[in-house]
């Protein structure tokens, strides 16, 4: 397809401000007369708060809030499900703490130093309760319980055995399926808690306004959900709450919800009656959220001719102390599993369990990297045990074009209309030299190389033909200025991946306006329609989908105004771009001489008082097309030290039309580094006695890959499949989360190919490798 701006590499709109250090992030916001806040956080994993004495802190001149001084409102930080499906267990400040590091009180003062000292002067009397730190122990009848009751929507719900929620799905007759299988392969997988490690720590600034309202600057992926939840908690009219859209210093899911520190800061500001700024220290931030861990039992039945006939997956998620949408998480996990391969008859049992740990939340993939690690490792195990080629086995069974895709679980389904799986596996195999791959037995010596493959996908958005349990739509406002430039007002947060540029490009493409004449306005909740969230890899597909939908209406309006001026039928007019004078014109089809620039149309519309050429609307995508990926990773294992290097990686993506090819590549390579972190380095564990984080909150002991852990530039190859998604803006789908999903499995599969040892748990550290090698761990085959 021939596009004017789509697919071109153009400088990102916020690039200049970012390289100059001038792009404001929430942590850079300064409001006159603001106070600085700090939170007091629990030292105990589980305790009742008997008494909090703030008198000394107050005598130091600080403003304090305690659980009794904030609205007694029970909420779930993440509001993307419909209310009846939202489980709520969280308070602004709790009277009972359920994990080390949970905030119990907060202090604001003129300087951060004073606030900190005042916080230290607060005296808390605890009644320490027994805690439970292991999810399986938590379900035992004698285990300490975190909650007696929580809310489902507005209904009270009893909690039994710390089970937060469950999801059991059966399709067809799995027992019959297994009975017909020639081979049945069963394994257990274990994926850790890891920390998002976004570079900007969570932040909020709240300014009380003269009209009784508040203005908020915060790290978030969703300004509108922040506003709505604050409205509920503080019983404020939404018209009096304004949340500003800002750049965010990375998120990866860490600010997918209205972070719990936001209402704390609001409560402080309302009490102090002046603006308050609360910036998490890194150690507070680590105690706020982790990626959902998972223990997965997977059983798959296959026939001799490599056809899958049945599957059974049991998932246990240790969600920690609060539900940040663990119910939809389980739904999604069932969907990620159901949509990878045609299992025929299958079962999914998912259980989310409370423990006295930092709450789990979405982190790039929302359960998908966990499920993908299990399934894609399993595919390799089966291929090895049954003697299939891992690639052919996958191609024989994958869910592809024409199949039903369960984007976000059983309630969000759509039919796949574009798919590059076969192309990617074929090209990837060729690039990595798959045909020369030898089995691990053929390898000797200290350093052993191996090649692994894994494939995956993510949904693009959570839309479907029928609205499910998940809210999904977006909005945009587009305005033609009187000089032919264009303003775009979009509520969609750009987390750094280039959603903003994509929006500009889509508008520019449709209206035939050059990229540099379209700007993204600085907006907030007051000036934009609703957008649910930059999550579910929906920024491009849904966010740009809405922008396209609005741009089409702007085009109609433009043509209509032009038809009055040119005295022609709107149907006979069209838009085109004139490169010579860098102008967009409206002209009579097939008679370009009769034309007028869009700037002139807008100007005349103003002079004649016809009005501004602007449209504001919302749009819901009615599909959720999967964006597919494949990873071919080469490892080199030092069998004497267990140290693994990655000499080569091939990253393949089917994201439909690549709107921003450079950003798409950036997403894939960035995900490679986070995926390698997940596979080999990261784990945020607790001391099983005290419930404290082993790293103590410091990243010194929570390492992520540095520039030296990545393969060299020339050894990372990126490939885009040639697909076009008919339902996407100019053929585009998403990429964001997909890019990560199969990295860890490809890595584990490569290690197996190198040394013949299968790892069912990440991170695959040198310690674990050496232990397995020395202990003669179950070497398969």
């Amino acid at each position: 397809m021939d596009f004017q701006v789509i697919g071109k590499v153009l400088p990102r709109k916020d690039g200049i401000a970012k390289v100059c250090g001038k792009e404001p992030f929430a942590s850079d916001i300064v409001v006159p007369h603001m106070l600085y806040a700090v939170t007091l956080r629990s030292e105990h994993a589980h305790a009742e708060i008997i008494k909090i004495d703030t008198s000394e802190a107050e005598s130091m001149g600080a403003v304090c809030i305690t659980p009794t001084e904030v609205p007694d409102f029970t909420y779930n930080e993440r509001t993307v499900s419909i209310p009846e499906k939202t489980f709520c267990d969280r308070k602004v400040l709790p009277r009972r703490v359920r994990h080390v590091g949970e905030a119990i009180a907060a202090v604001a003062a003129e300087t951060e130093e004073l606030a900190f000292r005042a916080m230290q002067a607060i005296k808390v009397e605890y009644n320490v309760l027994p805690s439970v730190l292991d999810p399986e122990e938590a379900m035992q009848p004698e285990a300490a319980s975190l909650y007696d009751e929580i809310l489902l929507g507005k209904q009270q719900l009893k909690v039994k055995n710390n089970v937060a929620c469950e999801r059991n799905i059966v399709i067809g007759d799995p027992e019959a399926g297994f009975a017909a299988a020639d081979y049945i392969v069963e394994r257990d997988y274990d994926l850790p808690r890891i920390y998002h490690h976004q570079m900007e720590t969570k932040t909020v600034v709240c300014q009380p306004e003269a009209n009784g309202g508040i203005t908020i600057w915060t790290t978030t992926q969703t300004i509108h959900n922040v506003r709505q939840l604050l409205g509920q908690i503080f019983e404020l009219p939404l018209s009096k709450i304004n949340v500003k859209k800002l750049s965010i210093g990375g998120s990866f899911g860490s600010s997918i919800q209205m972070n719990s520190m936001i209402p704390i800061c609001v409560a402080l500001a309302l009490k102090a009656r002046c603006p308050v700024k609360l910036v998490s220290s890194r150690e507070d931030d680590i105690h706020d959220h982790v990626k959902f861990p998972a223990r997965i039992k997977l059983k798959v039945g296959v026939t001799k001719d490599a056809k899958i006939v049945a599957a059974d997956m049991r998932v246990l998620v240790d969600i920690g102390a609060h539900q940040i949408n663990s119910y939809p998480l389980l739904g999604c996990m069932s969907g990620w599993y159901a949509s990878l391969y045609k299992w025929q008859d299958f079962r999914f049992d998912g259980t989310a369990v409370y423990t006295n740990k930092v709450p789990g939340c979405a982190m790039q993939g929302y359960g998908n990297p966990e499920v993908n690690f299990a399934v894609e490792s399993h595919m390799d195990v089966i291929a090895n045990e049954c003697g299939f080629d891992p690639i052919e086995f996958r191609l024989k069974n994958y869910v592809g074009i024409g199949d039903e895709f369960w984007g976000q679980g059983p309630t969000v389904k759509s039919i796949i209309k574009s798919c590059g799986v076969e192309e990617m596996l074929t090209v990837g195999a060729e690039k990595i030299g798959w045909s020369e791959r030898r089995s691990s037995q053929a390898k000797t010596g200290r350093y052993r190389k191996g090649v692994g493959i894994a494939r995956g996908f993510h949904t693009s958005g959570t839309g479907g033909p029928k609205p499910g349990e998940v809210i999904d739509y977006s909005s945009a406002t587009i305005k033609i200025n009187e000089d032919g430039t264009v303003d775009v007002l979009s509520p969609v947060m750009d987390l750094g991946g280039g959603t903003g540029e994509a929006t500009v490009k889509v508008v520019a493409e449709l209206l035939k306006v050059p990229y540099d004449k379209v700007e993204l306005a600085i907006v907030d909740t007051r000036t934009t329609g609703y957008d649910v969230n930059t999550h579910a890899t929906r920024g491009v597909y849904c966010g740009c989908g809405a922008a396209l939908h609005v741009a089409k209406q702007v085009k109609i309006k433009l043509l209509e105004f032009a038809s009055r001026i040119l005295e022609e039928n709107p149907d006979d007019l069209d838009l085109s771009y004139e490169p010579e004078d860098n102008k967009t014109i409206i002209h009579v089809k097939r008679f370009k001489q009769k034309q007028i620039s869009i700037g002139e149309v807008a100007k005349l519309a103003q002079i004649y008082s016809w009005g501004t050429i602007a449209v504001s609307d919302s749009y819901r995508q009615r599909n959720c097309p999967p964006c597919f990926v494949a990873h071919f990773i080469e490892v080199e294992v030092d069998t004497w030290t267990g140290i693994v290097k990655v000499p080569r990686a091939i990253l393949l993506a089917d994201s439909g039309t690549p709107i921003n090819p450079d950003m798409l590549e950036g997403q894939l390579i960035g995900s490679l580094s986070r995926g390698l972190g997940y596979a080999a380095y990261e784990s945020t564990e607790n001391d099983l006695e005290t419930g404290k984080l082993l790293c103590g909150g410091f990243i010194t002991d929570n390492k992520i890959p540095t520039s030296c852990e990545m393969p060299l530039m020339d050894n990372i190859q990126v490939y885009f499949a040639h697909t076009y998604e008919p339902t996407g803006p100019f053929g585009a789908k998403g990429i964001g989360e997909a890019a990560l999903n199969s990295v860890a499995a490809a890595y584990a599969n490569a290690i197996y190919n190198a040394i013949g040892i299968r790892f069912y748990q990440t991170p695959i550290t040198p310690e674990r490798i050496l232990q397995a090698l020395e202990g003669g761990a179950s070497v398969e085959n």
């Binding site: 220290s281 267990g642 790293c695 103590g696 540095t706 030296c708 310690e767």
Partner: protein, 296 residues
């Protein structure tokens, strides 16, 4: 949680001492109540995380007279205030003191090394301090000065335990001296970390002299396997006076691995440390031998 790494909450009086005399004077005057601040890359973190407090902070990094690296004839004298990056970039160090060079190269990252001093690395007393094993194998001595006078302490006697050294509270480390290493000398340093910029899971340094085909003098030191950086004399003895061979290296490394008693901590496990100690020591001996002109 009682820390906030965004700010430094503890209060103290700041004393800047541009000369050695002033620094010693302040140390004596505020004996026990003062702490020495050099690059601050250990000290400020300890203060931020609430592990350490003091009434006075004496800033010594700007004492120009203690910021040097002089190699005269065959000895090397290092001023404790020199930063790690300057040591890394020094041609003399790179050419003749491979273990020290490799240690410094492996440490932290550029910015930390621009700030951090070698004196601070030693005086901080970490069992994982990367410059310690090289200085141990070079047989370095440390000059500790106070108003009461100077004393010379071999590095071997300097470390007492984690964060503990023989430094008295009024003393300042004022010089690190590397003796004549003799002829046909070679040294090496190896380290394993979790990622490339990390404190050691384990590190090792080797320095040996070659007499034709046999090993002359030889020293081996490990870090991060005991409460202090330690030498392994038993393994050294296995090598000394023997004809160099692969078998000999393996024998010495195996013996060393059997002697260390590392612990499990946040960075690694005791068994891993034990296993890889052998591997890195073998490699260390090999490259030291080759650098001494030996063949294998």
């Amino acid at each position: 949680m009682k820390t906030n790494t965004k700010i430094l909450t503890s209060e103290f009086e700041y004393l800047e001492c541009p000369t050695l005399a002033e620094a010693l004077n302040c140390l004596s005057k505020y004996n026990g109540k003062a702490k020495i601040l050099a690059g601050g890359t250990d000290l400020l973190i300890k203060m931020k995380s609430g592990l350490l407090q003091c009434q006075y902070l004496i800033f010594v990094k700007k004492i120009e007279a203690l910021n040097y690296l002089i190699s005269d004839k065959k000895t090397l004298r290092i001023g404790p205030m020199i930063n790690l990056r300057s040591i890394e970039k020094n041609e003399q160090v790179k050419a003749y003191y491979s273990a020290l060079f490799e240690a410094v190269r492996s440490m932290a990252a550029t910015s930390v090394k621009n700030m951090a001093t070698i004196g601070g690395n030693l005086c901080n007393g970490s069992p994982a301090a990367d410059t310690a094993p090289p200085l141990l194998v070079y047989g370095a001595t440390l000059k500790l000065s106070s108003m009461r006078g100077d004393r010379i302490v071999p590095v071997e006697e300097f470390f007492l335990g984690p964060s503990q050294t023989v430094l008295e509270s009024d003393e300042l480390l004022t010089e690190i001296c590397l003796p004549d290493l003799g002829d046909q000398v070679g040294s090496s340093f190896l380290k394993l970390g979790r990622v490339s910029a990390d404190i050691a899971k384990i590190n090792v340094a080797v320095c040996l002299n070659r007499n034709g085909k046999t090993v002359g003098n030889c020293r081996i030191a490990f870090g991060s396997v005991a409460p202090t950086p330690i030498r392994i004399p038993e393994a050294e003895e296995i090598l000394k006076g023997q004809e160099m061979s692969d078998e000999l290296i393996v024998k010495a490394a195996k013996a060393a691995a059997g002697l260390i008693k590392p612990i499990t901590d946040k960075r690694s496990t005791n068994s891993y440390r034990q296993q890889v100690s052998k591997v890195i020591l073998e490699e260390g001996i090999r490259s030291a031998w080759q650098r001494a002109g030996g063949e294998l």
